[in-house]
Amino acid sequence: MLAWLRRLWRRDREFVVWLAVLLLLLLVVVIGPSLLPSAYVQSPGERLQGPSGTHLLGTDGYGRDVLARVVEAGRTSLLIALVIAALATVLGSVIGLVSGFYAKSASVLMRAMDALMAFPGIVLSIALVAAIGTGALSEIVALSVVFTPYMARISRSRALHLAGRGYVLAARSAGVSGPRILLTHILPNALPTILVQSLLIFAAALLLDGTLSFLGMGVQPPTPTWGNMIAEARPYLSIAPTFVVAPGLAIVLAVVTLNAISAGLRSIVDPRARALASMFVMRRERRAPRRA
């Protein structure tokens, strides 16, 4: 494990740093709430205070500690986005791999995916939430529906590519059944691509969760999410700046981290991305005089 980390560090420092940031973020939202003041106790006497020793990021409109609420909100938002990403990944990759492998018979599935992708994500989720009702569960259902097609599209093109490979043909001529090829040859080889994409969906789900909660269609207060905190902070924009800035920065940090990890993973998995990165080294060498 340590040797592996060291090798990774030598190859891509930035990636290791972002991994550490993600671990730190998870650590904070998991153990943070037990160390910080309550995210729910209101103290009307301390409304909208600026940062101070007792309230590092100040207080909100009900006198609740903003830092405690941002951390608590991180718990909710990250968990919801994680569940959405997991559901979309499983559903999408099953649909994508099957329709890529059985290309002719399963194109119906992809048509349905196309139709879902014809809606901008936020519009489809607003329509779905409007129909099912607000709350964590319906948000999870709605956003999973929104993100499934993106995973399906990627894993389908991967399966199409892999299905034409020699070893798949070899397995087929050896009499291996279709489902078995799918599980033992296609799935493992598609997995890296699926993982990279699922991290991107995780990040996108965080953003969309933020938007939905901001519009009041996600998890309802007093349970904090990053999005509904920003909505609550809206009347006090210039009075209590930390109240609106903190949850937004939290979203940005989480999304940047997830995107960076996804990009780092891709450069490990995909040789073409690695070639892009090395391009700059090559160009610099060309300018410098060659040494023997």
Binding site: R111, A112, D114, A115, L116, M117, A118, F119, P120, G121, I122, V123, L124, I126, A127, L128, V129, A130, A131, I132, G133, A203, L207, G210, T211, F214, L215, M217, G227, I230, R234, L237, S238, P241, V244, V245, P247, G248, I251, V252, V255, V256, N259, A260, R272, A275, L276, M279, F280, R283, R284
Partner: protein, 314 residues
């Protein structure tokens, strides 16, 4: 070529039918009685029954579907339960701000991104390269609604440089209309530029690695010509599809920003309809937004077809 366009048109029609079907089922099958929502809490069961009859909810689902689709084809989106007028004119009157924002943000973003990415690809690892890379990484991650609130606080509330919110038709009164557009367009552009710049940079760098550039250099072409005549056009081609694919994100962003900046576009209409549970408008607005998205994408596809001879052959 013509066959290809026809095939695309057929695909377009299929997707539109599926879009309509999806919306129909989203609104009908999922629990929650539309008639009950229209009637309100005070209504007697008889009143609810009458409304159900009037809304055509008493017949079997497939009949509702056929009727609904027939009406849709002739542009009849039903009657709004909150405005008590047909939906189609309401949607039409909300179309202009949304489309204006979408086009303005896209055109301006492209105008900024292309020279920026050229600079980045030509001189890797200098200050511009580092700045653009950081900007794009953050620009993709910033929630639009949050950025909008921050910019409003700083530039509209504190400095008073631009209006806080509102909409004046910029085609009728540009002097009053354009200042209202500045903040929403800037917010949209941050996301757009980040996405485009990231793609274009990767495309350009990928293109710089291609062997045909070596051929061009071997034939004696100058570095400048190699870049502008060979690498750039080929890198710009896939960027056309990126603009198309990103339209969904763009339209989504506009929907949210319209509610923040109180712009009377499709997004505000949709959001209002959700809070008044006006299903006819929700259906209509969602379908129209999807149609805008699909049709614009279709146009982008056609442009791509015109630009890239390889697609025409295959």
């Amino acid at each position: 070529m013509l066959g290809l366009i026809l095939r695309r048109l057929r695909d377009l029609a299929i997707v539109l039918v599926l879009v309509g079907t999806a919306i129909f089922f989203i609104v009908r099958v999922i629990p929650g009685d539309a008639a009950l929502a229209v009637a309100g809490d005070q209504a007697t069961p008889e009143q609810v029954e009458a409304i159900r009859e009037a809304m055509g909810l008493n017949v079997p689902l497939w009949q509702q579907y056929v009727t609904w689709f027939g009406q849709l084809l002739v542009g009849d989106f039903g009657t709004s339960t909150s405005f008590h007028t047909p939906v189609a004119p309401i949607i039409l009157s909300h179309l202009l701000p949304t489309v204006t924002l979408a086009l303005a943000a896209t055109v301006l973003s492209i105008a900024i991104t292309v020279p920026l990415s050229i600079g980045v690809a030509l001189y890797p690892r200098n200050w511009l390269w580092r700045t653009v890379n950081r900007f794009t990484a953050v620009g993709i991650a910033v929630p639009e609604f949050w950025l909008a609130l921050l910019l409003v606080t700083v530039f509209a509330v504190t400095f008073g440089a631009v209006p806080v919110s509102g909409w004046v038709n910029p085609f009728v009164d540009p002097a009053a209309g354009i200042p209202h557009l500045i903040l929403p367009i800037v917010v949209l552009m941050v996301g757009q530029i980040s996405t485009f710049a990231l793609m274009l940079r990767d495309n350009l760098i990928g293109e710089m690695l291609q062997p045909y550039l070596r051929t061009a250099r071997a034939k004696g072409a100058r570095e400048r010509r190699v870049f502008y005549r060979h690498a750039l056009p080929n890198a710009l081609l896939p960027a056309v599809t990126v603009v198309g694919n990103n339209l969904g994100t763009l339209l989504g962003g506009i929907v949210v920003l319209e509610t923040i900046f109180v712009i009377p576009g499709l997004g505000s209409l949709l959001f209002q309809a959700v809070s008044t549970r006006d299903y006819a408008i929700i259906q209509g607005a969602t379908i129209v937004i999807a149609i805008i998205f699909v049709v614009l994408n279709f146009i982008v596809d056609l442009i791509y077809l015109l630009l890239d001879p390889r697609v025409r052959v295959s």
